[in-house]
Amino acid sequence: MTQTTDLLTAAPPPAARKPRATPRSRHPYRTALSTARARTGLVLVGLVVLAGLLAPLLAGHGPTDQSGQSLAGPGTPGHLLGTDDLGRDLLSRVLYGIRTDLGIIAVAVPAGAALGCLLALVAAAHPVADTVVQRVFDLLLAFPGLILALAVTAILGPGRIPVVLVIALAEVPVFGRLLRGGVLVQREREYVTAARVGGGSGSRVLVRHILPNAADPLVVQIAVSLTVAVFIEGAMSFLGVGVRPPQPTLGAVLSQSMPYLAQAPQFAAGPLITVTALVLGLSLIAEALNREIRR
């Protein structure tokens, strides 16, 4: 709106408009990820992910092996973090728990995001499709997530699949609405008109011009959604409708430790620190990306 006149004012020209010494400008994501904030986040997430991937190498015990010594403190020989109420090695339960969690969120979030984006693209095609898709999003948002979780588990029985399904369903409207909004905004921009006048077909304009510019908030949202996914998994375990025991998940180990929080706080410490590190890392990355994109 003000861009025309913007040029003529002498309000400080942002450096972006000046020819910089660097001939090729860096991608904003790279700039974002090289900030101290994002680096801390990447290190935190990287450590947790690595620990999960290397679980079979790092853990001295199977995650379900019982040693007979329950609620042992940290530093007990053979059990670095101690044992849980059933005498299972906590370190190995946390490490394998990360593995299970990663397996769930790495499938559920992209699946939900993909489905949401697909619906948003359908909505972009035609006004009628738009109305239908928007009502679908409204419907999905209207169901309280955890009650939906209870219902889905009642149908499918406890296990990995319902957890993945619940997380994915929760993410569909989030990503769908974001992308729909982004496409609507970008579609009115002048460079899109220019691309159409330049002979670009509908699909080419969408893929080459609109989507790359509408995708920024989605990237931030992925980081946010991964943290939400960790919480949903934990809450479902806590409510007893998560992954079937004895398979460990971060949420399962954590909720299992809750009754012993007063008498054996070290039980909760391992999984809690891991969850916090993962979530904190992801939010730091999201925040750094968000700042760079908004500039």
């Binding site: 040029l7 003529l8 004012t9 400080p12 450096a15 020819p19 002048e190 691309a195 006048v197």
Partner: protein, 618 residues
């Protein structure tokens, strides 16, 4: 007349910190004085430091901006070192400010009256009824009809011109000694601009409030101010009475700027005069005259020492080393050159009774047609100028002609073939023929793509050439548009406005079209750069035999480049004719109003009708 010094600025310096940490010296060593009741224009192009100077006066610098040195004395009190409380007492009460864009400068959730009320309240008026009375009085004074009722309306219920009036009322509410207006009319149409300038002049005379008017428009300077300060590269290059500076510029930049302003009287087919090169990069400025690189009269000493602002005669001060010793007036600019181009040929594009109404979401928008039966023809090698104010439908017309939008009714023929509602395949063929250059060089380039990708995009879309052929063609197109082919790998954000417009032109030329629709291609550019882009377009027309539709709101530019002109008003063409005919002998009253409102960079004394006007007001 006892002139009294009100504001004295000495050696003001302002610096911004670029995101990479390097300093950017936006204002360097600026000194001037403002007398009580005086009208002073600060004129310059983008990056000249004129707005930054204005904002520094009451310390309103945005972001990382800070004053690095100098003093700003308001009746002896230095504002550059004043504390927050002191500044708050000055802002509004001693120095009122009006900003450029009336669309964003008013708070959307506050009523017009509340804006004024807040200022009165902030400066100590505790009586609610008195504030209300004063609010209505102020709105009435700035020309808001029915102020009692309108005081309770929200900004979105006013037109752009009315909003600017409300802003002026807000700025004057606490009766300041100085009114700082930063490009107050840039976002407005010429006729509204004229009204606002008249209002500012009247208020200055009535209340004795000194007016500092920041502008890029020499016409506005001539129209509204007694004295002018010309800025370039963060420094004042010339300071003197408007009549003197406009008729006898001492600084080569002032002279160049004046020569670059298109005059209404210049006949059709005349080249615009520009200043070669582009404004300086403030991060790279060292010693020496900032204008040296673009100056035709440059001497060795200009590059080594920063010229001081020195008095040459009477009231005129100039920052130019050679100017101090120069007794002759500056050499007159080269006489305007003719545009050499062949006469127009057969009709290429023909529109008949085009209509277009946007299906607005709000009830307000529905029903008002953007195009209401527009008919026109465009011949081979011809330039058709289309002039109109905002909302006249000229941009819609451009989009319909370029098939970015489809017309609701009427017919559009390309070389005799009906292309109003083409099939998908026919549309593709039409678009190869008809291309478009956009107004906004920032918004019309995809920020995610490199220049090479942007220019190659139509080649890929039309399936022209293979990878290597395309790369060659892109280089060729960039050269054609006056750019170094090596820039293909860079992103648009690292280019200036003029350079970006060249990229847009290269893109439009990619499919080798025969018709180019230019929608306000120079409206966003500085005058000194505008001539380069217009020159490029006319050269391309000559070399490639293009037919041009040239849309603008500035009649003077349109007259110079066009063979014929069509004047648009409220979705209709109210007058067409040869360019000279329309400008010299306008038939439609709207055309006459447009011509009368166009601000010309000629001092008031030289314009008889203006003298009459001021006399009538006095």
């Amino acid at each position: 007349m006892t002139a009294q010094e009100l504001l004295e600025v000495r050696d003001l310096g302002v610096e911004f910190t670029a995101p990479d940490g390097s300093p950017l010296r936006a204002v360097r060593g600026v000194s001037f004085t403002l007398r009580r009741g005086e009208t002073l224009a600060v004129v310059g192009e983008s990056g000249s430091g004129k707005s930054t100077t204005a904002l520094a006066l009451n310390r309103m610098l945005p972001g990382t901006g800070h004053i690095t040195g100098g003093t700003v004395r308001l009746e002896g009190r230095d504002l550059a070192t004043a504390d927050d409380a002191e500044l708050r007492a000055v802002r509004g009460a001693r120095i009122g400010m009006v900003f450029q864009d009336p669309m964003t400068a008013l708070n959307p959730v506050l009523t017009a009256g509340r804006h004024i009320d807040e200022v009165l309240r902030a400066h100590g008026n505790r009586d609610k009824a008195a504030r209300r009375a004063r609010t209505v009085e102020l709105l009435d004074r700035v020309g808001i009809p029915d102020p009692h009722r309108r005081a309770d309306d929200y900004p979105h219920q006013f037109s752009g011109g009315q909003r600017q009036r409300i802003l002026i009322a807000t700025a004057l509410a606490a009766e300041p000694d100085i009114l700082l207006a930063d490009e107050p009319t840039t976002a407005l149409d010429a006729t509204v601009q004229d009204q606002i300038l008249t209002l500012l002049g009247d208020l200055n005379r009535e209340t004795g409030t000194a007016l500092v008017l920041i502008t890029h428009n020499m016409g506005v300077v001539a129209r509204a101010c007694e004295r002018v300060l010309v800025m370039y590269g963060g420094t004042v290059v010339e300071d003197g009475p408007t009549a003197e500076v406009l008729t006898r510029p001492r600084h080569p930049y002032t002279a160049g700027l004046l020569a670059a302003v298109p005059r209404l009287a210049t006949p059709s087919g005349t080249r615009l005069t520009g200043i070669p090169g582009s404004p300086p990069d403030l991060t790279l400025l060292g010693d020496g005259c900032a204008f040296a690189d673009r100056c035709t009269l440059v001497e060795d000493r200009c590059r080594n020492a920063t010229p001081p602002l020195a008095r040459v005669t009477g009231d005129v001060r100039v920052a130019c080393l050679p100017a101090a010793g120069r007794t002759e007036p500056l050499p007159a600019p080269a006489p305007p050159a003719r545009i050499d181009r062949p006469a127009p040929g057969a009709v290429v594009l023909e529109a008949d009774g085009l209509t277009k109404t946007y299906g607005g979401r709000g009830a307000r928008k529905r029903g008002v047609p953007a195009l209401d039966g527009v008919s026109l023809t465009l011949a081979e090698g011809e330039t058709l100028g289309i002039v109109g104010e905002s909302g006249s439908g000229k941009s819609t017309l451009a989009r319909v002609l370029a098939h970015a939008h489809t017309a609701d009714g009427g017919t559009l023929r390309l070389r005799g073939e009906d292309v109003t509602r083409p099939s998908r395949r026919a549309l593709h063929a039409v678009r190869r023929q008809v291309q478009m250059v956009f107004q906004d060089p920032y918004a019309s380039l995809n920020p995610r793509m490199t220049v090479g990708e942007i220019v190659a995009e139509p080649l890929i879309a039309f399936g022209i050439g293979d990878r290597d052929a395309r790369r060659e063609r892109v280089a060729e197109l960039l050269v054609l548009a006056g750019l170094d082919p090596a820039v293909a790998g860079r992103h648009p954000r690292s280019f200036s406005g003029g350079q970006r417009q060249r990229i847009g032109i290269a893109r439009a030329l990619a499919p080798a079209p025969s018709v180019l629709i230019c929608d306000e291609p120079v409206s966003a550019l500085d005058v000194s750069v505008q001539a380069q882009i217009v020159g490029l377009l006319t050269d391309l027309q000559r070399d490639l035999g293009l037919s041009l539709v040239f849309i603008a709101h500035d009649l003077a530019v349109v007259r110079q480049v066009s063979h014929r002109i069509a004047v648009m008003h409220r979705g209709r063409i109210v007058e067409t004719g040869t360019a000279d005919e329309v400008c010299d002998r306008p038939r439609d009253p709207y055309t006459r109003a447009l011509l009368a409102a166009a601000p010309e960079p000629v001092p008031p004394a030289a314009r008889p009708e203006r003298v009459e006007k001021t006399r009538a007001l006095a």
